[in-house]
């Protein structure tokens, strides 16, 4: 076991653990935000750079700090490592910069976006006081397209986290979509008219940290925070059948996988459960879900950050979300 300290809190983890996962072991506000890393997807992480932290001491053997901020999701810990997340003004500054970059080409369409209220980018931008982007540059624009019968792609909103690509690679037998072109014109696409129809393809919707991939079977579009998520299950031959059913009254508006506090699915679910079972009689209801989303706002640490005048929390946002 290796000993690490993150924002002055010590923790012991196994060899090979990343800084991010060590922080998740501690929990709460020391956990850096992660927009591209997904623990259940091999190879994910390293791309969005929101999880940057400062390594103040590399290891017990080598007490020097690392010269640059590092991506906590893809940097393994070493024994005696000392890490700063929120305790480093440099990290906060850099992260604000990253949020600014992510918002640069992100449309200001939160009011009409399916993901509003459960969007990692929205949380992050509130948390870092960037809810209004300063940029006057024109944003990239792409048409909204269907990728498959039940999935819509709003490329404008995509932050190119590559998660959906890993899902297709690792969960389905054939990947039909991918990242095309390069630089700031890269895009997620199937390139040719191609319908993504694999049994597990619907999971791309749940792994998408923003509202770029959405569920076309989501009924009577509604702000997510008006809906009540319920744990529900059914006998399913293809997946665990354990889902979250988003209800309004007794009606199911949509089905998603069950997400944990870091926005990650507990298990991936199949398309039949997700897209075809919309009657409450299809499901055995277990009860309401009480998982707090991990976001800077939800962490009760933000008072401290406010003192550093970094965070402008929007009061009550979290209540709305539950």
């Amino acid at each position: 076991m290796l000993k690490v300290t993150i924002d002055n809190i010590p923790v012991e983890v196994e060899d090979g653990t990343t800084i991010l996962n060590a922080a998740r072991k501690i929990g709460g506000n020391v956990v850096p935000p992660a927009m591209c890393y997904y623990s259940k997807l091999k190879g994910s992480g390293g791309k969005c750079r929101t999880c940057l932290v400062r390594v103040a001491q590399s290891s017990a053997k080598d007490p020097r700090p690392m010269p640059k901020l590092v991506a906590s999701c893809s940097t393994p810990v070493q024994d005696g490592m000392v890490v700063q997340n929120l305790t480093s003004p440099e990290v906060i500054e850099a992260r604000k910069g990253i949020v600014e970059f992510l918002l640069l080409n992100h449309p200001l369409d939160c009011p009409v976006c399916d993901q509003a209220g459960e969007c990692d980018l929205q949380d992050l931008s509130f948390g870092y006081g960037m809810e209004e982007t300063a940029t006057e540059e024109e944003r990239r624009e792409y048409p909204v397209i269907d990728i498959g019968e039940n999935i819509k792609l709003h490329m404008n909103r995509c932050i190119l986290c590559y998660r959906c690509v890993y899902v297709a690679d690792q969960l389905t037998d054939q990947r039909l979509h991918g990242v095309l072109y390069r630089g700031d014109v890269s895009e997620i696409s199937t390139f040719i008219q191609n319908s993504v129809t694999n049994e597990f393809s619907g999971n791309v919707i749940d792994v998408c940290p923003v509202g770029a991939l959405t569920d076309k079977t989501f009924r009577f579009k509604s702000r997510v925070w008006f809906l009540k998520p319920m744990n529900a299950h059914r006998e399913c031959g293809k997946c665990s059948g354990k889902v979250a059913a988003w209800m309004f009254g007794s009606e199911i508006y949509r089905i998603t996988g069950r997400k944990d506090q870091y926005g990650e699915l507990e298990t991936f679910i199949c398309n039949e459960c997700r897209f075809e079972k919309k009657e409450s009689t299809d499901w055995v209801m277990e009860g309401p879900r009480h998982i707090k989303r991990q976001s800077v706002i939800s962490s009760n640490h933000y008072e401290e950050m406010k003192e550093q005048s970094i965070i402008h929390p929007i009061e009550g946002t979290m209540e709305k979300k539950e």
């Binding site: 991918g178 095309l180 390139f191």
Partner: protein
């Protein structure tokens, strides 16, 4: 050195014609694939795409990319991802001669911008366009690694350096003549690989 176990011989049709490498070229492709370890035939993707673009019509259409994918035993999307990443692969029909003018810093200070403007003028096209006779496509590229002899351009990967309007006039004239004889003055990728 053929490694035919991993290769099938798919046939794709375009406009009724069968779209595939000739058996000579296929042999070359096999030998290129055998340069990489077993199971790593995807490594041959870039060289094979170069050959495909050159031999099968000057650009990578979807059916050509699908053909290459099946040749290498990979998924078509893997080829699309790669073909759209690299600037030497064309996804649309190009002129017989693709003129690519370097526009990067060092060339720009030695007159590259004027050369580009001159070409736009004499060919009567903008960057990215093809002349109506289908002979020339004008493009801009980034540094060609020939900055000491700028301004530089490349015509179907042949370098032309220290350009002046006079040189360009002569060159275009020659190329028009070549084009009418259906020749290029450039040797092919297949010939390059021993």
């Amino acid at each position: 050195m053929e490694n035919s176990t991993i290769i099938n011989h798919p046939q794709f049709k375009r406009e009724g014609k069968i779209l595939a490498f000739s058996s000579d070229i296929l042999k070359k492709v096999h030998s290129l694939i055998s340069r990489y370890p077993d199971g790593q035939q995807k490594s041959a993707l870039l060289p094979v795409l170069h050959i495909a673009q050159e031999e099968l019509g000057g650009f990578l259409s979807v059916d050509i990319m699908d053909y290459v994918a099946s040749l290498l035993g990979i998924q078509p999307i893997e080829v699309y991802e790669v073909a759209t990443f690299y600037s030497m692969f064309y996804l649309d029909k190009m002129g017989k001669y693709v003129i690519e003018v370097c526009r990067t810093g060092p060339c720009a200070i030695s007159g590259g911008e004027q050369i580009l403007a001159y070409l736009q003028e004499v060919l009567e096209v903008k960057t990215g366009e093809t002349t109506p006779d289908g002979i020339f496509t004008l493009k801009e590229v980034e540094c060609l690694g020939s900055c000491g002899t700028g301004p530089v351009m490349q015509i179907n990967t042949e370098y032309y350096e220290k350009l002046t309007p006079g040189k360009i006039d002569k060159l275009l004239e020659d190329l028009r003549e070549y084009a009418s004889k259906d020749k290029t003055d450039d040797s092919t990728w297949v010939e390059k690989f021993c």
